[in-house]
Amino acid sequence: MSNNKTKASGSFVDKFNNLTDTNLLLTITVVIFFLMYIGAIIFQGGGFLKPQGFFNLLNANAALIVLACGLSIVMITGGIDISVGGVTALVSMCCAVYLDHMGGNVFVSVLIALAVGLAFGAFQGLLVAYLDIQPFIVTLAGMFFARGMTTIVNTKPFNVANEAFTKLKMTRVIIPGLGSANRKGDYIDAYVEIGVIVAILVVIVLFCLLRWTKLGRSFYAVGGNRQSALMLGINVKRTRFLSHVLCGLLAGIGGYVYFLHVGSGSPSHALGAEMDAIASSIIGGTMLTGGVGNIAGTFFGVMSLGTIQNIVSQAGLGEAWWIGITRALMLCLFLVIQSLVMVRKKKS
């Protein structure tokens, strides 16, 4: 599975046809992302010109990257999880209440986040894998449960005033050499937040997991053909279960990253995040039918979605609805591309 996209020799068409689905969809995404970003730099300039513009994109989307990674895993295994947005809100609220009202410590709050995510993942995984209930219905219920619970934990949004937490939230990791001058002419270092580091670690770890471990390959096998995977001796139920557990865990991590970014608890946090995460995964080349996908693609999927949003708002289409509509259009476009790829594959 070599990366064939770079050499533009005479046999380019052959190579294009030989691309595996994973690589083909990934290539489309990466190319579209770069075209979009370069286009934005040329036509809009502004924030896109500065390296910090790119880092801000990361800062704003770190949580979504983590959530989308979880979804990619479930989708590669042939399932879906739409509870991640709700879990994010619940995690934020639980941690906020614990840190602010109960004066808890930051380390324990991380554990709380992980535990909430794991609990959702494990319970949903149990129902999906061992009781064979449609994942969409199970996680739809999960999403509503999480949203409802968030309100039950605390009805009103509030900011966290915990010293240790605020310190962690404000921590900036300086990227040397990429700073730029602000309007007054002072030099400002480029930086990313802690969450970005977490997100990038998650991406690297999961990329390796999916590429080189038996569990990772089992996800692909089960998503590609569940019956065959069973015949090959893979424990299909356990694999599906683990995909949901992993997704839940990542929802917990993503939830904390989100919490770290906004520093507050609110029932309306991360509204629609599950849809953004699914859209990012699809744009990143994960096939809904399972068996095809790539974490690197998911990363670019999130970035593409974020870039589109920035372009739309910089273009003066500030009204909120444009963002919703452009996102939906992009999702639609990629769904249609996937559908066409499937048709092409069936024919050959």
């Binding site: 390959r217 590609g224 019956q227 015949m231």
Partner: protein
Amino acid sequence: MKDNIVLQMKNIHKSFPGVRALQGVDFTLRKGEVHALMGENGAGKSTLIKVLTGVYSKDEGDIFLDGKEGPVAIHSPQDAQKIGISTVYQEITLCPNLSVAENMFIGRTSGIGQNWRKMNSDTEKILRSLDIPATATQQLETCSLAVQQMIAIARAVDMDCKVLILDEPTSSLDEQEVEKLFKLMRDLRSKGVGIVFVTHFLDQVYEICDRITVMRDGQLVGEFEIEKLPRVQLVSKMLGKELDDMSDIKGEQKAYERKAGSVPVLEAQGRVSDAGIKPFDFHIDKGEVNGFTGLLGSGRSECVRALFAADRVTGGTIKMNGKPVKISKPLDAMKNGIAYLPEDRKGDGIVGDLSVRENIILAQQVLKGFFKPFSKAKQYEIADEYIKLLSIKTASADTPIKSLSGGNQQKVILARWLFTHPEYLILDEPTRGIDVGTKVDIQKLVLKLASEGMSVTFISSELDEMLRTCSRLVVMRDRKVVGELSGDDLNQSKVMSTIAGGDK
């Protein structure tokens, strides 16, 4: 357990809703033998194998394995692999989205890590030793079907198994590849592996097997040594009747003769669909019974599907009674009086959750139109009429069709098409997987319909059936029509040699 016995299955029972698939079957496999498991479609071979490999759980019975105390419990394919039972299935059960090497090794060891370099080099070694044209890092779906099948076998062989089950592995292989497979099987036999070989090709059985177990209708017929069971007897044991029993309907079709200058009911020219067949010409006269024959995968189903426009039609013309008609979707064909009973009863025929009544009226209802449903009373009247006419065994007209036995399901589908009163009826494998009694019923019905003036095309995997019912056979090979036989040419050897090609 005796020394040379490697596997013993005793008194195995297995039922599915509405079907008793296995009833007290015994099976014994010895070390270093190739043991053929024979039986018609629906005899229970596949079920027996799936019980053995843990895909289905058995209702009753015990399985003993050499070197294990007492009966072994097999609950999943992993269990089977662990105790040394490897299987290659009829449908390729590999993951197309993984690499060849991954398909060779996934699911075989526990633990998280994987030495990828070693895995790839091991795979290369195996592929080279078995002469399989593939590379370890290639994605499986880019390999041809035959190569995929070889890889599946290579995987099974590489697992140091005691028992190797090959469930119709040769249906997608060509002659050379079959030869390669046989060489492999002989090697393994000499190493003491017990091989269970399921196939439909009698030649292959007599070429490689040492012993035969015959099954019929979910029951064991018997175990025989190959030398003591001549072909004719094997066939009669599989069919469950002496050949003489079946001669009573023989010869009737010979009465048909083509009248000079008559216009065919249907005439197709250069018809071709996107299912991968070469364009073909075809015609059928009023009251004629003809058939398409050829090996599995030779394109006979695809031809009749092209006539009915079941696949997307890409070219050719059709004339009905001399008038050109456009048939580009099934509804066109139905409106022109063509009916098609599909090969895959479960996948294309029955509408499982609907009642027998609804299944019978469906096609005619569609012809009649969206806004003109049959009244409930009329539906029951029709259903009862056909249930009686074809003696369909069902609790009532409201029973869901999926709870009927295979043969009765097939009769319901037949009723569905008879109710449309077609001029031309296509029956694609109507007798597959159903009991012998129903088979004879269906053959008789075909001849009766033809005598009443209906034209029928009849396809069956069993040549005997075709020879008994058809007055003309269109022979296919490699997805194209290679010959047409009628009159005195209609005999087993002539058909076989035409299928095989040339005068071999």
